[in-house]
Symmetry: D2
Subunit: 164 residues, 4 copies
């Protein structure tokens, strides 16, 4: 457990030059299949939308795992970082999905300096059901106070893997 | 369970005149306290963000329950509608919260014709932690095919309660 | 959504002769891999145990899907039943798992007359982490009142598939 | 995040003399109200049962918080312990509940030496819906290796609060 003081953590990272949108789009795209389960659905018989965000969070992890060749657990140790908490997200729900559906999630990333933008497209049989954008911040433990975390430039070693 | 065909359900409702933003802001504001639980938090010790959307969905229900004087279960029967699925949402995460925090969620609504906009502000000790906007569509069972649902103008009886 | 009156639903089904344990063990065993995600874990860095029950519920569905050749959504229509709600469960947590672990879940079933018993074994690299037993009841819509459900003998067509 | 090695963590704690059941029942009973939300329910319109375990986990925390006068976050620091992970649980589902229900959860505890037993009764309007038993183990960080945790006798200071 990380005691956290995020006061003014996100805003500087997002305000810095080199934020997502500046064109550092990587060519990498991760695609995974996800089964929509009975327990993901609500009394209307369709996905309870917070479950989509669970799917998207795991899809972001899957993209990093595929490119870095490390699970998030391993990456936290290897790169001595503390995660990539979400600063912003927005989603558009176009068509509902329901239990038994095997949906496809395609995920891409665009790097800023200390933050990055993720795009997810969730589709069923090629038809878009949900679109989601995320802005996440790369954070490390504060050397001056290991109980705190602070934003940090995304390591070149990470960046390089995505542009390889 | 509602077999659903939402093809072109949302877009017409959102494209119609009278969409949220046109100024039909109600003066009502619902406020509720929510305890952040151990199980809402991730290995970083802070809220796993999909849990915020669970909190916000319940906060939207709480606003309607307070104004209509009916639980969602009762309202589904009384107004013969089929729910208010989410068409869009966006959120900004400003400060993290963690288990043991008793946060406050303030919720307001602005009605369009067949859709409505919700704003949530989640705060801790008066300091904003998360802001979230939702666009939801009022849907009913299609009389021509009860197995389908379609968007429908928000009933005047509902609207009136919010402007009382 | 099924308005439910389960008064005395479960007890008669469980008390009837032919309850699980009487020896109708099927030889079928379904095995699936599940990735433990960051969002499944708590501030101790290990699985928050209610997530295991989500995994087990999906594993029960997966067993039926494999044997019947139908998703749960399709099975609900084909067999005109209303689900197999849980009457009892118990679990033993032997070793924790954490994000990045790819666990294996093995699931078996033993049929009674209107109920059945499920056993799940969740393991990591061959080592048992969690064991779980479930007793579930087969329910149908009450013909006398479609708004109610009642227990019902498991159809021979379902039983036969498991013993094929 | 606590790197965990729980090999042979639970069994010794449970096998030790003074396990729950030996009669150290405390007179304390915590009662709390919980609203069942739309998102807690499945396509059958009733609670998806893993949500009950979320409710019970929070109810265990609530009992300790009430007696110790500390949130779990504060207690982790005060008593230098690492939590009370679940070793075993079992539940009996007697009557379903659904969204809009305000259920009552009553929780009691019985202490062993390094483990304790919890009983939850979830009811609606006085009628029992779910009964659940838990066995949990008190764990601390291993002084010889802070990255590990091990079972530990429940501190007398904690025990005393429950018998006060």
């Amino acid at each position: 457990m990380i005691p956290v003081d995020w006061k003014s953590l996100f805003e500087p990272a997002l305000a810095s030059t080199g934020v997502p949108g500046s064109g550092h789009v990587t060519a990498l795209r991760n695609t995974r299949k996800v089964r929509i389960e009975w327990g993901d659905c609500d009394p209307a018989g369709i996905v309870f939308y917070p479950r989509y965000f669970e799917i998207f969070d795991a899809s972001t992890s899957a993209l990093f795992e595929r490119v870095l060749g490390l699970t998030k657990f391993q990456a936290l140790k290897t790169f001595n970082f503390a995660g990539y908490p979400l600063a912003r997200t927005r989603a558009r729900f176009v068509r509902p999905t329901r239990f038994g559906d095997d949906v496809t999630v395609e995920t891409t990333v665009e790097f800023g300096r200390s933050s990055f933008a993720i795009e997810h497209r969730l589709s069923l049989n090629g038809v878009t059901c949900v679109e989601c954008s995320e802005t996440r911040v790369w954070v490390v433990h504060d050397p001056a106070d290991p109980g705190r975390i602070k934003s940090h430039p995304i390591p070149d070693a990470v960046r390089a893997k995505f542009h390889a």
